[in-house]
């Protein structure tokens, strides 16, 4: 399982766009990049998954450069309710389990 590195914490303000970058230098050809969100006192929730270029859904966008050694989760116009821990994961094609790291603790300020 490829290791990921992401900032321990970030602060931002309501209405701003927030970008959380994740490094995964040893990502393999068959690996996918996956992000989860965890609110306090709740289990994590899948946000988005991608392989290359850009993926967008109703919650976030995921940008993956051509070398795939990093990825950026973009949250548009955040609100206080986006305060959560965000986990970047690399999931291999063969894997039937995923390993969570410590994630990035995002704190949105009014």
């Amino acid at each position: 399982l490829a290791k990921t590195t992401q900032p321990i914490s970030m602060d931002s303000y309501e209405g701003q766009e927030v970008n959380i970058t994740c490094s995964h230098n040893n990502i393999a050809t068959n690996d996918y990049i996956t992000w989860y969100q965890q609110f306090p006192s709740q289990g994590p929730r899948f946000i988005i998954q991608g392989y290359k270029t850009k993926v967008t859904n109703e919650v976030a966008s995921l940008f993956i450069p051509a070398d795939r050694k990093s990825s950026t989760l973009s949250l548009p116009r955040v609100s206080l309710s986006d305060t959560a821990v965000y986990y970047c994961l690399v999931v291999a094609n063969r894997d039937d389990k995923i390993i969570f790291g410590k994630g990035t603790r995002l704190h949105i300020l009014p």
Partner: protein, 114 residues
């Protein structure tokens, strides 16, 4: 109700006691997982199961036992609870094939071992 449930939601037990945490899902998902979450450690995988009667160790399996006789249930047993097992335990399930699957998490069980 449909979804994934855990019971009990809160449990206090004494050192040395056996305790079982229950997990039930109604989606007939093939995969089920147990995680523990401690401050400063994030989520750590304890055990997982790819199907009924198939289980495998995760990162931190010592002191835990699992079984999966039915697809919908995945109980986690602490054979002899220790204080270091005080944690929040999350169960999750997944129905898709890797790597495009999502895991759906239960509400968690907060376990305190005194």
């Amino acid at each position: 109700d449909a979804g994934i449930t855990q019971s009990p939601r809160y449990k206090i037990t004494e050192t040395g006691r056996q305790v079982t945490l229950m997990c039930h899902q109604t989606w007939s998902h093939s995969y089920m997982f147990w995680y523990r979450q401690d401050l400063g450690h994030g989520l750590r995988l304890i055990y997982y199961s790819a199907a009924a009667d198939i289980t495998d160790k995760g990162e931190v399996p010592d002191g835990y036992v699992v079984s999966r006789s039915k697809t919908e249930n995945f109980p986690l047993t602490l054979e002899s609870a220790t204080r270091s097992q005080t944690s929040v335990y999350f169960c999750a399930s997944s129905g898709g094939q890797p790597p495009l699957y999502e895991q759906y998490f239960g509400p968690g069980t907060r376990l305190t071992v005194t």
